[in-house]
C-alpha cells in the first residue's frame, strides 16, 4: 500500500513539473469549450428543452467534459503498450507492485494533478464566460463524485485493455486510435448522448463507454430519475467488473506469451 501511494505521489510531482503544458492545456480546453458551447447555443436557438436537456444543461455538460479531458485521459495513450514493444516493461515487471496496480498508481498521480489544475481551475475559468449549473444538495454531489470515481476507473481499465493488445501486436497505434475514437464517440464526449438519436444512445449502452462520461455528467445535471440513476450506476459497475476481469485475464495470457517468446 505504501509503495502504491509513493508511486502516486511521484507521478503527481512529475506532472506538476510540466507547468507550461498544464497552463496551456487549460486554455486549449477553454477554447474548445467555447467553440462547443457556441455551437450548442446556435443549435438550440431558443428551444427550451430537447430530449430532457436544455441549453444551460448542454453547456454545463460541455464544460464538464472539457474539464475532464486530462483527468480521464480521454484521448487515450499507448504508453504501456510502448513499454512492451521497446522492452522497458521488464523493469516494471520486477517491481514489487502488481503490474496493473503500478500503472494505476502512475495514472492516478497524473490524473489527480490534472483534476485540480485542468479540472477545477477550468470550471472556475469557464464559468466566467457561461453560467453553469451546479448540483443542489449534498446527495447529488456525493453521487456525482462516486460516479466520477467509477468513470475514472472504467476509463483506466479500458485504456489498459487496449494497451494489453501490445502483447500480441508490435504496433498497436492504428488499433488504439480507432479504439479510442470509438470510446470518445460512444461515451458522449463529442457531444451529449442525449442529443444524439435514441437508437444511438441505446446502441452505446451496450458498451462500457457511456459510463466514462455521459453517466457522471447526467448525474451531475440531475436529469436522471431514481430508477435511471440505479441503472446508470449499475451500468458502470457491471462494465467495470467486466473490464477488470478482461484486463486480468489478458494480462496473465500476455505475460505468458511474452515470457515464452522472449519479447
Amino acid at each position: 500500500m505504501q509503495a502504491f501511494l509513493k508511486i502516486v505521489g511521484i507521478s503527481a510531482r512529475q506532472q506538476m513539473t510540466y507547468r507550461t503544458a498544464l497552463v496551456a492545456g487549460l486554455f486549449t480546453n477553454l477554447f474548445f469549450g467555447i467553440l462547443r458551447a457556441s455551437l450548442l447555443i446556435a443549435l438550440y436557438q431558443g428551444e427550451t428543452s430537447v430530449n430532457g436537456m436544455d441549453v444551460g444543461g448542454a453547456i454545463t455538460y460541455v464544460a464538464l467534459s472539457q474539464a475532464m479531458i486530462a483527468y480521464l485521459t480521454i484521448f487515450g495513450n499507448t504508453e504501456m503498450g510502448r513499454t512492451v514493444s521497446d522492452g522497458s516493461i521488464a523493469s516494471d515487471l520486477i517491481k514489487p507492485v502488481h503490474f496493473i496496480l503500478l500503472w494505476l498508481g502512475r495514472d492516478l498521480g497524473r490524473s489527480l494533478v490534472n483534476f485540480v489544475v485542468r479540472g477545477l481551475f477550468f470550471i472556475g475559468l469557464f464559468s466566467l464566460f457561461y453560467s453553469l449549473y451546479f448540483p443542489t444538495g449534498v446527495g447529488r454531489w456525493f453521487l456525482f463524485v462516486i460516479s466520477l470515481i467509477f468513470s475514472w476507473l472504467l476509463n483506466f481499465f479500458w485504456r489498459m485493455l487496449v494497451n494489453l493488445g501490445a502483447f500480441w501486436s508490435p504496433d498497436i497505434q492504428g488499433f488504439a486510435r480507432l479504439a479510442f475514437g470509438f470510446s470518445q464517440l460512444f461515451s458522449g464526449f463529442v457531444l451529449p448522448l442525449r442529443l444524439l438519436p435514441d437508437w444511438f444512445s441505446r446502441l452505446s449502452n451496450w458498451t462500457p463507454f457511456p459510463g466514462m462520461m455521459n453517466h457522471p455528467m447526467e448525474i451531475y445535471l440531475g436529469i436522471y430519475s431514481p430508477s435511471q440513476l440505479l441503472g446508470a450506476f449499475g451500468h458502470q459497475l457491471v462494465w467495470l467488473f467486466i473490464l477488470v476481469f478482461l484486463c486480468l485475464v489478458l494480462f496473465r495470457l500476455g505475460i505468458r506469451r511474452l515470457v515464452i517468446q522472449g519479447g
Partner: protein
C-alpha cells in the same frame, strides 16, 4: 541553383519514406482506411445531432458539410506534408538532439525537417475530407461558375499554407519551451474546428480575434459564403471572400521569419 538542390534533397528524403510506408500494400491501405473512418467520427456525430435540430444558424447539413469538407481536406493535407513540423514530433527532435544532426549537414534545416517525416496514412483523412466536401456539394447544388471552379482549389491551397504556417510557428516555439506547447493546438486543431462551422455563431470577442489577429474568418467561412451564395450575416465588404490568398501569404511570411529567429536562438543557447 540552390533551390533545385534543395528540392532534389527534399525529394530524396521523402522518397525513401514513401517507399518504406507503402512497402506492405495491404497494411498501408488498411491504415488509410481506418484513418478515414476515425476522422469521420466527429462529422458523423454532428450529422446525427442535426437530426434533432435540423439546422444550425440557418445552415443545413449539406452546407455545413461543405465547410467541414473544405477545412478537413486542407488540414489533413497539411498534416500530411508538414508532418516534420508537427510540434508533437518536432519537440522530441529538439530535445533528443536530432536537430544537431541536421545542422551538421550542408542543407537548409527547413528542407531537412520537412523531409524528416511524411505520414502517408493521413491520406485517409484527406479522402474523408474530400468525401464530406463532395457530399456537401452534391446536397447543396450551388450555382457553379468558372470563377468558382478556379477559386476553390486556390482556397484549399491557401488553407494548407495557413495551417502549415501555424504548425511551423508552433514548432518554432519549442526552441524556447522544449516541451511541446499545447496552446498551439488551439490554433491548429482548434482552428480547424473553428472554421468548420459558420463563424457568426461565436461570441463577438472571439470573432474579433479571428478577424483581426489570426484572420481565420477569411480562410474558410467567407470563401464558402461566396461558393454557396449565402448572405453575409456580418456585413463585411464585398471582397471579403477574396482576401484568402493575402492571409495565406502574410502567415507564410510571418512563419518563415519566426522560424529563422528561432534557429538563431537555438544556436546561441543549445538545448
Amino acid at each position: 541553383m540552390i533551390v533545385i538542390y534543395s528540392i532534389k534533397i527534399l525529394w530524396l528524403l521523402l522518397k525513401t519514406q514513401i517507399r518504406s510506408q507503402t512497402q506492405y500494400r495491404l497494411s498501408f491501405l488498411a491504415d488509410v482506411f481506418t484513418t478515414a473512418i476515425f476522422s469521420s467520427i466527429y462529422f458523423l456525430a454532428f450529422a446525427l445531432i442535426l437530426q434533432r435540430f435540423e439546422t444550425v444558424a440557418g445552415w443545413t447539413l449539406g452546407e455545413i458539410a461543405f465547410l467541414v469538407g473544405m477545412t478537413e481536406t486542407s488540414f489533413a493535407f497539411m498534416d500530411l506534408l508538414f508532418s516534420g513540423f508537427d510540434p508533437d514530433s518536432f519537440s522530441p527532435m529538439v530535445r533528443m538532439g536530432s536537430l544537431d544532426q541536421f545542422m551538421v549537414r550542408p542543407v537548409s534545416l527547413t528542407i531537412q525537417v520537412l523531409g524528416s517525416r511524411l505520414i502517408l496514412r493521413r491520406l485517409g483523412r484527406v479522402l474523408e475530407g474530400l468525401a464530406v466536401l463532395a457530399f456537401g456539394i452534391v446536397t447543396t447544388q450551388p450555382d457553379w461558375t468558372w470563377l468558382k471552379t478556379f477559386y476553390l482549389p486556390v482556397v484549399l491551397v491557401c488553407q494548407v499554407i495557413c495551417m502549415g504556417s501555424i504548425f511551423m510557428m508552433g514548432s518554432t516555439i519549442t526552441f524556447w519551451t522544449v516541451e511541446r506547447i499545447e496552446a498551439v493546438n488551439i490554433l491548429t486543431y482548434g482552428g480547424n474546428e473553428l472554421m468548420s462551422y459558420p463563424m457568426n455563431i461565436y461570441p463577438r470577442w472571439l470573432l474579433f480575434i479571428f478577424t483581426y489577429f489570426v484572420p481565420f474568418i477569411f480562410v474558410n467561412f467567407y470563401p464558402t459564403l461566396y461558393f454557396l451564395d449565402k448572405p453575409d450575416p456580418l456585413n463585411f465588404p464585398v471582397f471579403a471572400p477574396f482576401l484568402t490568398p493575402l492571409v495565406a501569404i502574410g502567415m507564410a511570411l510571418a512563419a518563415y521569419w519566426f522560424w529563422g529567429y528561432g534557429l538563431r536562438h537555438y544556436q546561441s543557447t543549445g538545448t
